[in-house]
Symmetry: C2
Subunit: 220 residues, 2 copies
Amino acid sequence: MVKQERAARTRESLVRAAAEVFAEEGYETASIATISKRAGVSTGGLHFHFGSKAALGDAVVERAAESLRMITVSRIAGANSLQSLVDSTHDLVALLGRDAVVSAAFGLVAGNGARSAVGRERGWAVRRQWQRWVEAMFREAAAEGLLADAVSPRDAAAAVVAAIVGFEVLGADRREWSSRSSLTRYWNLMLPQLVARHRLGDVLAGGSAEPSPVRSARAS
Amino acid sequence: MVKQERAARTRESLVRAAAEVFAEEGYETASIATISKRAGVSTGGLHFHFGSKAALGDAVVERAAESLRMITVSRIAGANSLQSLVDSTHDLVALLGRDAVVSAAFGLVAGNGARSAVGRERGWAVRRQWQRWVEAMFREAAAEGLLADAVSPRDAAAAVVAAIVGFEVLGADRREWSSRSSLTRYWNLMLPQLVARHRLGDVLAGGSAEPSPVRSARAS
């Protein structure tokens, strides 16, 4: 039992170290030696848990997919679909800022350049999972009369997904792009177009878990 | 004179080969040997023109900056500011699809992972140039009464820049993201929000140089 716990902890530190090294050096450049050293695990130990760098890449993406599922299933009780969507974008951008594993998984598909086909495909799976959820929220909004009549759920989802990818990519180098206040300004611009006029008061651009002034000042 | 022309052609093929190899393998992984082989130039010849890989990276970014300037200065005579902006996004996405040099330069800043500080900074200069121009178009639109009253030129520019980066990144792997029809649907969604109500007919989502049905079918 203790042995199993130790094995799980070792895997965890290897995945985290791999994510950090992928983010810093790029997937192709990252070496097994650097990753095992960062994790404080021998290369033999690394190979015991993960047969290859591609397997580590898969584990990083799998962990990110899990975090993303957490964001999308943890809707605040009673929050409407579009509020849940706005909340999730705030959560996602905050998560990308503080979680190396998630940001590395998203990075595996952003940008061109050499990425293993495996890593890229798995990274795309994470993106598609998110995108499908965004579309589901817009369809739900349409069904509950929250979406403005003229708006197609599919087109709205594409516009939001593209913009969030942009905030993510631009924010990886310039933090002001992925700050809570940038995202709030984005939603303030978009919501009057997306939300049915008489329901506009039902969706808060800053998210329904609006942070206290102190947290807000620190986050932006 | 003939010698100068030959030198210019050699530089040109080196920059193009470097852009292709950066896009395929990533900047860090790309080797001088691969680039010179691709260009059909000896590594000695490469070093005569470019002292280092960073110098080649700079040349790629410089060439992209030039193409981007061409897009932004070649406004169709009489086109209003927002139409010029819409046109330029169609031109940019089409250019990224067919010009390895421009797409490599944008790729130098997209995604995390190791990029030379030099390449990244120069890549950012290209992005900032584009972003400033987008802001200038929105300010011009505000000045000429074309922008909807409630819209801040700065926030509108940020939303559009982020979305276009998203289309670019997503489109690098999935071409449907950067098709003319995706972008047209994006602008159809955004324009009613951005354009003053009585001027809505003055901006075409598909661009003012709307292609013939045949070209359109091929492009999307």
